[in-house]
Symmetry: C2
Subunit: 266 residues, 2 copies
């Protein structure tokens, strides 16, 4: 069965595609995170192919990427008659779930609930390095980490200070939001702004293609900068504008049922 011809769909896929950064395994991770993250969720090989090939990715490249993801323990595959089905392993689901709250958070970070952890010069930095492995911390300088959420326990070697206001210098904004990230973010904003409202009549697979592309572009921005309140943003930071555009578009492209994706294959 051929996909429905839809000029809006083809234009939009081109606008969202980022051929420079199209690692197929990473696209598949975005796809499973968005469409089939729940335990028990399975996607057939043919649904995968129909979602991904419109991005200009060949079936052979999808097979290679699936092989790699199986080897890395992210995905398992099974046979169902003549068809193959793929699903996240428990490890894959956990990895995916770990970043889901940040990717799908609709509101920008609030200024409250932040703390600073400060180490002694020299020896104390080892303790700080451990803290910085946690996703809710960013490095301010060699001896200072900024984090949010509850204050950690058992950090006897660090000065821990709950913070109720912050004034952020330029060097720290530049450190947390480097130029290449600002550029990627501005490019995403430009691309999202050019997209016309989705027409009626998209197939479930086309919706899957578009959602995967949007989430894939967005996660490459949102997961590469810390989730910090507006006072930390450089002037002209497009991240929050992107966030609004991303969810405006996702809301117009509701997640297709997995059964609807598979129904197309029959």
């Amino acid at each position: 069965m051929n996909e429905q011809h839809n000029p809006w769909f083809e234009t939009t896929v081109q606008q969202l595609n980022d051929p420079q950064n199209q690692r197929v395994w990473s696209v598949i991770v975005s796809l499973f995170g968005d469409l089939a993250q729940d335990k028990g969720a399975r996607i057939s090989g043919s649904a995968l192919t129909r979602i991904i090939t419109p991005m200009g990715i060949k079936p052979e490249a999808i097979r290679v990427a699936l092989h790699r993801l199986r080897k890395d323990g992210w995905i398992e595959s099974a046979r169902s008659g003549r068809a193959s089905v793929h699903y996240l392993t428990e490890y894959g689901r956990n990895q995916s779930a770990a970043v889901t709250p940040r990717i799908y958070e609709r509101r920008a970070a609030a200024p409250g609930d932040w703390h600073l952890l400060i180490a002694e010069d020299g020896a104390g930095q080892a303790t700080l390095d451990e803290v910085l492995l946690l996703s809710n911390y960013v490095a301010v300088n060699r001896t200072t980490a900024l984090g949010h959420g509850p204050m950690p326990r058992n950090l006897d070697d660090l000065l821990a200070a709950g913070v109720n206001s912050m004034s952020v210098p330029g060097w720290l904004k530049a450190r947390l939001f480097p130029d290449h990230l600002q550029d990627a973010c501005a490019a995403l904003q430009r691309d999202l702004q050019q997209i016309a409202p989705p027409p009626a009549g998209l197939t479930p697979a086309q919706t899957g293609t578009l959602r995967t592309l949007i989430v894939h572009r967005w996660r490459r921005v949102v997961l590469r900068h810390p989730d910090l309140p507006p006072s930390f943003h450089p002037e002209d930071w497009a991240g929050e504008a992107c966030r609004a555009l991303v969810f405006q578009l996702l809301d117009r492209l509701p997640q297709p049922e997995l059964s609807a994706l598979d129904a197309q294959t029959e």
Copy 2:
């Protein structure tokens, strides 16, 4: 005229005296700060002698110290008939006034109203060094200063964070309250605890001697550590116990009128 013989006075002077650290000019600075800090306040040479000599300091040493304080711009001296009078210069009054609030503060520092200033590694430390010249800041490490009071302006190079709670590690307590300070403080506490309540009938000069000794010992402790809330104190820190004992004793030895000190000379 001879001073009244008073065994309690002699014992107490011995308990409070710290012959190892008896720089006479510094004792005179404590004396003026306590008894004659106001503009226009003057102390006669004979009153000075009667207040200081019971500490075991010879009149010749007082003359040498006064000479040094005049040379350094702290004190001026004048003749009044056959008698000499001494008073703080404007510079001396300002120096004295700058530390008076901390010496005479009856309450320990409160935990509120603190902020951290954090510099970039390397270049940013120069800005921090300027901040650390201010009396309301202490260094936490090479890139961090802790201060209280209103947040400074024009510190664009520093991350400024208002703080609402702090948990203080051992290395920072040891840095802010080093052993020699803890020892001096414990010794003062011991000495103050041994003093019996003052009897009636002390002369104004005797009261001046005792107040000067108490303030002199206390300022050498209180001005050598930052004024920080209890969570910063090492275990067994005697500073707040000293503070309570100091004001208990000073309240029982009310400041003598300068006219009463001079009346004794006639």
